[in-house]
Amino acid sequence: MNIQVKINGKNVKSEIDADLLLIDYLRDNGCLSVKRGCETSNCGLCTVLMNGKPVLSCSVLAARADGSEIYTLEGLQKEAEEFGTFVANQGAEQCGFCNPGFIMNVIAMLRENENPTDDEIKEYLAGNLCRCSGYEGQFRAIKNFLAQRGAK
């Protein structure tokens, strides 16, 4: 079947299988930041923005994304660099494999809620697993980022 998806601002037309998952479709289209960490919708590594909302691209059919607008970290490099620098300054990126999904969801969170409380941060990002950092360094990065943004 044929679909048309706006990936990171560009219209992409493709012929796909009905059961192609959005994650594989995106990776086939060069969005290699999108990672698969599990098959059970539990890890958050594959988070992308679909029509502005963070979703698990491993659990969405590419077919359903027909006509929608998708953003991956490839399309949000400026935000990734701005916030990512705070993560890197903590050494909290560690292996890095969960970073794209985590940063995607941080971006989504801050678009929904400019000044989240500590509990709101932890709850919003609870679906983003990280095995390296114990989360504390990621949390410091978010707090520092918010503080710096607030100071501006």
Binding site: K35, N89, G96, N128, C132
Partner: protein, 760 residues
């Protein structure tokens, strides 16, 4: 410390690439058009493969090949990444007629696309002769059922292994007459503790890509911690010379020991070697959960003897370790359960440590952060906490009275002396940070909830003494920049950066002047690999030594150019100079490229006769719901002595990450099997890792000692950090409820049921 790059929060060299999602991992760099390799796995825990019908499956379009046990070499090998001769028994074949756990591979299928391979997998018909399995490791030793009855099984090292008794290893050691000292003690406490087969659960599953290069050699690009061991294992398994194999790694999405064992490598390597075509294997999360290399399940029985004043005089520790279907890391992990727990107590006059490591028909175990020390420390630290309660002495006080101190000899740690030990300062600081004296043992919150605290100490090693080798090649490049070649594997820990920091400090140059090239068997100098908390301490020292030697060469060459003797010149990072004359490193580099016979390059190997332990103290405050048993972590305080932290940020994140994993082990992660040996926890849905709202607040501080034998005083940090949560949390639960949980994980159900039992 007056340093520029060491003991500083330097950003990792690859950090920005990682946070911006650059394509640097295996499946990002493997080409799209390679064969997809998958394996058919046994549904039985113990069975003989009598017949494999693959003709129908072979007819599926796009299928390249299907291999079964008849197609593979018959050389047994171990997949454990260890220095040769490996202590782990040679008990594997690439595919075996005898399958020994649910998930053991039966056939390898390769095809040009995933769908076809999946289809072919379904069409292979296997006839099994199903045998009775051993699923309870307590019944394994000397059972009539043998997990490895085969004559070709062999053990290369004297570790007490005997496949005809289901023994992967067995030993007894000690110091002094433990029975005599115990008999003289006022109190002897005996307890048995049980820990489970936790999964490392790194976010990137096991994966490997292989191809044949221009020279007809097998190139293996893999997510591995052990490129050199991988080359040797592949050579043994495939029966081809090591010179025909190259192993490298891209960025790795986490390891924690999981990738210190070959897991995915062997299958695509075999396919590519046979077909000459590139291939890759990407493990699913389910495969990573059911067919990998988790922590060894252990049952540890401890007897601790003490005076009524609280002096711990004797420890008798017996560990039964479950290595599962194969023996990877079986003989070695178990040793740490005693050798890295008992030495925490410096007044022990006699100890005995015995163990059996047994085979059983569950997933084989492997190396996971902590490597046996975690299990032993849970047992011994819990026993000491129970002992304190019996004696009515504050458990912190007991530790202050008994803990190992700087300058002590540790009979249970191969008689090594603690040349650097700030455990006493760690305990003091942790106590103040959590406000122990006020909070111990508990406070009733008046709403059905109790807040309580718990404590544990821990140690580990820094590399394997007299075994691990780390090497560094450092060379001067154009413009006076340096390239550092190392064989260790950065798996996210940041060792590429840490070793560059050491080089920059030694060479007195900017860290950006150091290019790091790592973990390539063709170009790296030999390194045992990144495991056993060795890289900073062992390879880091090799880098130090290499830099010193390189400076000597630069001074010699500089002196020659300046017409001076070596004694007359000095080096300051930018130039060689003396007697008002100077030559810059850049000029030296130019000279080294024209009409010279001296290479501005040096390779140094290092190995340490000792393995200086890092030490730490963990203290936790929890809030416990007395009716539901629910636990919330309020505050976790960790104070660590890792010698000099080379990178203060990365050291901190190591601690926080290790605590996170330790909390998962303590409270959530529970591997359970069906009656037939099928694992229930085969996904992240059924094997719950801690999320960020599960870990509470982690507060980490350092109390540095200075380890003379380490680079800039450094010891290790990677593993020790996972050891305190289980005993500290069990202790806090006890202080809240009077229930001591002896089997991990500590679930609300165990707590409440224990409380109900105590009431009755």
């Amino acid at each position: 410390m007056d340093t520029k790059f060491v003991n500083k929060p330097i950003m990792k060299k690859d950090a920005m690439a990682l946070v911006m999602g650059k394509p640097v991992y295996l499946d990002d760099v493997a080409p799209k058009d390679c064969l997809i390799v998958k394996v058919l796995r046994s549904p039985h825990a113990n069975a003989i493969v009598e017949e494999v019908k693959k003709d129908v499956a072979l007819k599926v379009p796009n299928i390249e090949c299907i291999y079964t046990w008849e197609d593979v070499p018959q050389n047994r090998f171990t997949m454990a990444g260890q220095t040769y001769p490996e202590p782990s028994p040679y008990d594997r074949l690439i595919l075996d007629k005898h399958v020994r756990y649910v998930g053991d591979p039966v056939a390898i299928v390769a095809g040009s696309d995933e769908k076809s391979v999946d289809k072919a997998l379904k069409m292979i018909k296997v006839k099994y002769k199903v045998l009775e399995p051993i699923l309870d490791f307590r019944k394994s030793k000397d059972n009539d059922i043998l997990v490895h009855p085969e004559e070709s099984w062999k053990s290369l090292c004297p570790v007490g292994a005997d496949n005809k008794r289901n023994l992967c290893a067995s030993e007894t050691c000690g110091n002094g007459d433990v029975e005599k000292v115990l008999s003289e003690c006022d109190i002897v406490l005996e307890r048995t503790y049980h820990t489970k087969a936790n999964q490392q659960a790194m976010m990137e599953t096991f994966r490997t890509y292989c191809y044949i290069d221009t020279y007809g050699r097998l190139n293996v690009l893999s997510s591995t911690q052990i490129v050199f061991h991988a080359r040797r294992i592949l050579s043994t398994a495939l029966g081809i010379p090591k010179s025909k194999i190259r192993v490298t790694k891209p960025r790795i999405g986490g390891g924690f020991g999981a990738k210190q064992t070959l897991v995915a490598e062997i299958f695509p390597a075999f396919v590519t070697w046979k077909t000459g075509k590139p291939s890759k294997m990407i493990f699913t999360r389910e495969e990573s959960q059911i067919a990998s290399t988790p922590r060894h399940e252990m049952e540890v029985t401890v007897r601790v003897g003490a005076t009524k004043e609280g002096i711990i005089k004797a420890v008798d520790l017996y560990t039964l370790s479950n290595t599962g279907a194969y023996g990877e890391h079986g003989p070695t992990t178990v040793g740490l359960s005693g050798h890295k727990s008992i030495p925490l107590y410096g007044k022990v006059e006699a100890f005995k440590f015995a163990y059996d490591v047994v085979y059983s028909n569950v997933m084989s175990a492997g190396a996971y952060r902590g490597y046996g020390a975690t299990q032993g420390i849970f047992a011994l630290e819990s026993a000491v906490n129970e002992l304190s309660a019996k004696l009515g002495i504050d458990p912190v006080k007991i530790r202050e009275m008994n803990m190992v101190r700087e300058g002590d000899t540790m009979p249970a740690y191969y008689n090594e002396t603690t040349n650097s030990c700030a455990l006493d300062r760690c305990l003091e600081k942790a106590k103040n940070m959590i406000n122990w004296n006020e909070k111990y043992p508990y406070k009733d919150m008046g709403n059905g909830k109790v807040r309580s605290v718990g404590v544990a100490m821990a140690m580990q090693g820094s590399g394997i003494s007299n075994v691990d080798v780390g090497s560094a090649t450092i060379k001067v490049d154009d413009d006076g920049l340096y390239t550092l070649l190392i064989g260790s594997a950065d798996m996210g820990t940041g060792c590429d950066t840490i070793l560059a920091q050491i080089a920059a400090e030694s060479l007195e140059c900017d860290i950006d002047n150091i290019t790091v090239l790592a973990a390539d068997t063709d170009s790296s100098p030999y390194d045992s690999g990144s495991y056993a908390s060795s890289t900073t301490y062992v390879t880091g020292k090799a880098v130090c030594n290499a830099c010193e030697k390189l400076i000597d060469i630069m001074k010699e060459e500089g002196a020659k150019a300046l017409g001076l003797s070596v004694d007359e010149v000095d080096f300051d990072g930018k130039r060689v100079f003396g007697k008002d004359k100077e030559i810059s490193t850049a000029e030296l580099a130019v000279k080294s490229q024209c009409g010279t016979k001296t290479a501005l390059e040096v390779t140094v190997s290092h190995s340490s006769p000792i393995s200086p332990p890092p030490f730490m103290v963990g203290m936790v405050e929890i809030e416990l719901d007395k009716e539901t048993g629910h636990i919330d972590i309020i505050d976790y305080v960790a104070v660590v002595d890792c010698g000099t932290p080379i990178n203060t940020n990365l050291a901190r994140v190591q601690v926080e990450g290790g605590l996170g994993q330790g909390i998962g082990m303590a409270l959530f992660e529970d591997v359970q099997y069906s009656e037939k040996g099928r694992m229930y926890n085969n996904s992240f849905m059924q094997y719950k890792l801690p999320a960020r709202n599960d870990v509470g607040t982690l507060r980490v501080e350092f109390e540095n000692s200075y380890e003379q034998t380490g680079p800039y005083g450094a010891k290790s940090i990677g593993e020790i950090v996972i050891n305190t949560p289980s005993p500290a949390l069990a202790h806090a639960v006890y202080n809240a409820t009077g229930v001591y949980i002896h089997e991990l994980p500590i679930t609300p159900e165990k707590i409440v049921m224990g409380m109900i039992k105590n009431e009755n």
